[in-house]
Amino acid sequence: MNKSGVVLGLLALVAIVVAVVSFEPAEKKEKVVVADKTKVGFVYVGPVADAGWTYEHDRGRLAVEKEHGAKVETVFVESVSEGPDAERVIAQMAADGADMIFTTSFGYMNPTIKVAKQFPNVKFEHATGYKRADNVATYSSRFYEGRHVLGLIAGKMTKSNTIGYIASFPIPEVVRGINAAYLAAKSVNPEVQFKVIWVSTWFDPGKEADAAKALIDQGADILMQHTDSAAPMKIAEERGIYAFGQASDQAAYGPNAQLTAIIDDWAPYYVRRVGEAMNGSWSSTDTWGGFDTGMVALAPYGKAVPDDVKAMAEEAHKAITEGRLHAFTGPVNKQDGSPWLKAGETADDGTLLGMDFYVEGIEGSLP
């Protein structure tokens, strides 16, 4: 009989919960009062405290609050996995009265499109995807411009000629980053080699740290990463080697180790787009901003970077910003030796956005 007791008890609970559901007059009134504020929602793939990708998106959110003050209200949900949960969270935000929703990871693409159909009056902004609709805009940054500068520094500073690269998933953005960094490193150091470990996660400090240790044990003396935690930076600091921060300035985790970091600065974009939503000029656009828009920035160079390397990096940074230099300039062959870019030719955005091949010289194959 105990067992049916459990059944009864839990069923009773569900019944009570459902019964209480209808009693909620206070909430409704409250909603009307705040209706003139623009409510902006953010969906994050990692925890706000990841010190990388999500942390920077949240700084963007705070910038929106600071800039638009009392006219906006922001909400966020963190650590939303890119599976079936995403759609519910996004829809819940829209149902709760959000006027604009930023979904900040690639895996939210189809859920965002689906929810956008159900809420035609809500404006959606999806990061790093390629599907748009009348109320869904996309945005991303040309992180590969930053990777070029990182590659130059790495190529110059490595003693073992081995760069360790911790990669997440073989999507075009990540492959592009590896290729850009490799081409730059090789242009200043023909002996350089890249070792890549795929960890199949965006955020897992344990796995990232293990990958970092494995790479160092294989001779890497400089680490790059395309994952979101500061764990590899801490390992680099412990082992006395160098590393580049990812998405955010991670000097706090590796005061001696960090050479520089690619900073994803979403604040200018978020502030502008929320402003457009408020004054009615918002429309669905596709934004891919680089150094020139301020969406990609570099952290201050570390103490270990010699003056000549710093000068070279600064010059490349400037040249890319001014449009004089493209990270993918021919001659470049694909890994299998087939030609990709002719001498002097630069890559078009279409190929970059769908990049699924290594360039010549990188060892190993894409997973």
């Binding site: 105990n2 009773a12 609970l13 459902v18 909620e24 996995s81 079936p84 689906k114 769908g354 997973p367």
Partner: protein, 353 residues
């Protein structure tokens, strides 16, 4: 001195009261936590636990979230009763989603009422096959099914990743690791006009009823229970341990696979590298919360599903961090399991002379 001893008399309403007390204690503790954060506990509790259910949409989403938890929870309850510790339901779910999804993609441009049953069958067989591996290794080599099934979970997740990055990738998708979207005949019908509650929930309810029948009325269920309680007794009774091992893992694998394909076709609508937020592991908690009783898995699954929705609501309307979900779940489990212990046992204090 403190002693824990079994109670001689347990009435059916004791469990009932215990559940009620546990929920009350959870509510009180969460209230204390919320007020320490400077929030009004009553209105906060309402926002967190009631508001997610305040619409057809919310209830529909709750059912969608609970569907895999209940389906797998029932299967695990049966297996755990037999003392077969299938910890790898997550991997069996992933294999089910992968195989069923592969069938759906094979017929991506062919309509027909027969497509859906074929997809469900494919998914179930995928999970079944994944459950058969630890069963075979246990029967043949006495390999520990906990380790084998757990490790196979990671193999399954990586296999899904390989397939979605490679052969099953959407040819028009810019090389991003996602499959094509399934067409309408390859997605499960919805139960409500809003939200994603789908036909899979009805299947889950049927499984729970069938599971109860297996436990109560079927000789095999009795056999499995006896084997779980005492392998020696089972041996004397002439029961075949190998058969129990096979049944427990095949039921677990098949139903987890079914849950996986239902999740993919009912909830996601395509194959992606990450199809489950650890449903297979959470279902273990659900099964134990229900005291391994298949029918009790239904409310237990709904309750755990609600705790996830509550965690999101807490972030959305109160701005408290995601870790709150885990705190709510932890408190709930602690009190429920603790209360259950006190139903079956009592604590006695006595002085040593």
């Amino acid at each position: 001195m403190i002693m824990i001893e079994a109670r001689a008399v347990i009435r059916w309403y004791h469990e009932w009261i215990a559940v009620f007390i546990a929920l009350l204690l959870t509510a009180v503790t969460v209230s204390v936590l919320l007020s320490s954060l400077g929030l009004d506990p009553i209105s906060s509790l309402q926002r967190i636990f009631i508001r997610p259910l305040n619409s057809v949409y919310g209830v529909s989403e709750l059912l969608a979230k609970a569907t895999p938890l209940i389906t797998i929870g029932v299967a695990l309850a049966l297996g755990f009763r037999a003392g077969i510790w299938n910890i790898g339901a997550e991997g069996q779910l992933v294999m089910g989603g992968l195989c069923g999804g592969a069938v759906a993609l094979a017929f991506w441009n062919i309509d027909g009422f027969w497509v859906m049953p074929l997809i469900l069958l494919g998914g179930t067989l995928g999970g079944l096959a994944w459950g058969a591996i630890p069963a075979f290794l246990k029967v043949r080599f006495n390999a520990n099914e906990i380790l084998v099934s757990l490790m196979l979970t990671y193999v399954a997740i990586l296999l899904l990743s390989v397939m979605v990055h490679g052969p099953l990738r959407d040819p028009t998708g810019f090389n991003f690791p996602e499959s094509r979207l399934f067409h309408d005949d390859a997605t499960l019908p919805k139960l409500f006009p809003a939200g994603r509650g789908h036909l899979g929930f009805v299947f889950a309810l049927i499984f729970a009823v069938l599971g109860t029948w297996v436990v109560k009325r079927w000789h095999l269920g009795f056999e499995m229970r006896v084997t779980g309680l005492s392998t020696t007794a089972a041996k004397f009774a002439g029961y075949n341990r190998d058969r129990t091992v096979w049944m427990a893992l095949l039921i677990g694998g098949g139903m987890s696979g079914f849950a996986g394909v239902v999740e993919v076709t009912g909830n996601i609508g395509q194959l992606v590298p990450n199809i489950s937020p650890s449903y297979g592991f959470t279902a273990i908690i659900v099964a134990f919360l229900a005291r391994l009783h298949p029918l009790a898995v239904i409310p237990a699954g709904l309750l755990v599903a609600l705790s996830y929705l509550a965690g999101e609501a807490a972030q959305l309307s109160l701005g408290i961090p995601a870790a709150s979900t885990q705190v709510f779940q932890g408190l709930l489990l602690f009190f429920l399991l603790g209360a259950s212990l006190l139903v079956n046992y009592r604590i006695r204090f006595w002085r040593v002379a």
